[in-house]
Amino acid sequence: MSVTDPHFDVAVIGAGPAGMSAAATAAGHGLRVVLIDSGRQLGGQYFRHPAPGLTAPWLSKLRHGWSHFEQLAARIEASLRIDVLFEHQVWAIEPGFTVRTDRGPIAAANVVLATGSYERVVPFPGWDLPGVVTAGGAQALLKGNLVLPGQRVVVAGTGPLLLPVAAGLSVAGAKVLGLFEANPLRGYAKHPIPLLTNPSKLLEAADYARRFVGNRVPVRSGFIVIEAQGADSLEAVVVARPDGTGRRRIPCDALAIGYGLAPQIDLGLTLGCDHTLLADGTVALRVDTDQRTSIPDFYAVGETAGIAGVQTSIAEGAIAGLVIAGDRTGLKALRRRRDRQRTLADVIRTQHPIPPAWRDHLTPDTVVCRCEEVPAGAITEAVEHLGATDTRTVKLLTRAGMGWCQGRVCGYAIACLAGGGTPTDLLAAAKRPLARPVPLGVLAGQDQRNN
């Protein structure tokens, strides 16, 4: 198959902090770079910002590390060697490399995968009620559209993302009725070194704690949401300890819930990159100290190499940029910083698993796959009576995970309900042959470029 010009030295997929950093660094060393994103702006999840003209008095309080964004954006905008392609959905990458987008193919000698992450959730009765949103979704709505999911909000789930979400909602004027972290936090005391070597993280945590006290946001650990109640939309949530004790009903009009993030690596997996299963059950691309994957000239940076936060993303983008450019100046220091941050990220992962008790609170009619409306009972039937002993077969027999989201939302739950969450099941949940849906007309004429 022939591919149209121009031929780039580097294609960076994803214009979040990791991708921006990789593109700016590589172009700064004279390479021709194409930076591709399906969205309309630079910044990705962390630096998501409203369209020009849209603003709010509290907006600046949501913007941590904004100067990093401004510097990266300025370098990209000033560079003559970077083509930025917004509103391009990458649906596959072929060896060599041909980056296939919904607007035609792009050829590049190196690829940097910086496609970030998506949120993990698990089902519970009532989670499909209007008013229940994901934690990151609430954050994205707030940062991008300045919209609150409700006025009286409960934040729940697990992981560090819950902190900025609760703080952001509170800053923007919502009453946060409680932050419920599923896991007990005393485990952190066993890992003082990674915490002390990342003092900025400690300060960040202290800052949140201070703000929650000031805004009277109750913070409880060791509690999960076991039910969302309401007739047509959310009216209350029930929280309890994983074993069901300590039940409490909290009237509210919104629930922001998230069980952490999972790397978005379908493009790399389809291409054949080696992967690694992390402590929290997420699957990341395996990289070496230079961010190389197992496929030559194919790099993974930021969340695709395992969830580790914005600072790590920026460092890893710069590492990949330098390595591709063949300039090793400053590489050692960057690697050290990255390693220190990754050590902490690994500790955080072990402290925030999804408590397996979510399964105990499902009822047979709890919808597990919302796209295809598959209830938990149908999955149990497939497993117990139809011989579906793995994720793939459960999906085939029930259609769970076959709808719009292609299992991004329910994949983890199905992997657990089907095979008990074996590594094979978790990997199956991370794989998607097409990273994005692609119109048949585009697939039919995939060699043509149209802008």
Binding site: M1, M402, L440
Partner: protein, 376 residues
Amino acid sequence: MVIGAGVIGAACALYAARAGFTVTVVDSGPVAGGTSGAGEGNLLVSDKEPGPELELAMRSQELWRLLAAEGLGEGFEYEAKGGLVVAATASDFSALRAFAAAQEAAGVIADEVAADSLAEFEPYLAQGFAGGFWYPQDAQVMPALATARMLQASGAELFLGSAVTGLLTSGDGAVRGVRTTRGEIPARYVVNAAGLWSAAIAAMAGSALPVQPRRGFVLVTEPLPALIRHKVYSAAYVSDVASSDAALQSSAVVEGTPSGPVLIGASRERVGLDRTPSYEALQRLAAQAVEMFPFLERIDVQRYYCGFRPYLPDHLPAIGPDARIAGLFHACGHEGAGIGLAPATGELIAALLVGEKPQVDAEPFRPARFEEVEAA
């Protein structure tokens, strides 16, 4: 005892149980974990030329109807929707006409549809086709569900996650069971329905069954209302199916499903068990589908999958007794028609087990035929 919980193994289990046998099914993986979970569920007579395969398909069509009438059909989305074969040019049309005439002599119903009547069958079909043929006997099932429901209905005992590693024989050389990774399982008769892996089971008996994989990709669109009513494919498909060329062939069969997505399949090529995506195969399928139904141009493909058909060089399955070991039977190599041919295959095996005269002549499917070729 049946080796393989694919559609063929499920059908063998069902008809053997109905013939009075106590049946166990072993599979190294889950139910429908092989090709039966990676194909489409077209039950076609329209694509088959007169001969033994068509006879088997005609009998199978009858059995699918009976299974559906028993109430099993709802559990596997049986739809007697019929197929429409369209010809792009006048010469394709006359070739199709000759093909259909021969099929009619073998009992297939095939009605000629003039160019200006095609829209009555498929309102969204592209203009400009020379004409087509309507095959009311073509039908459709959801293959993985068909497999699971037939197994369930058979009442067979399932040993999943147990791979067969050897055959057990008694002093007189007859089979007496199988050895698996989880222990030995005794059986008076063993049916090899291991699909792509049947050659390995046959080899345990010292027999040669040259089953090879023939890869196919299928595109799956976003869910749509029922805009495509029947199975629609181009007359070129028939020659692809019959081809023995290893190179890529594709002619799209387009069909809606009860759950909404349209399936577009399938390409055919012999490349071993290579799962690397072939963007060329995907492109061809997409282009052909859009040619037939222009509105599909803007419809999203959500995913695609690939599967491997168990191919035998003469395009006929192997169904019948092993030449060497008494009590061992083979039921494999159904290539791209295993779903359609499953019930008749199961019925045939059951008849052979009982020693009755089968409904369909078993002679052309003799597993030993490949060894005779070699010897000759």
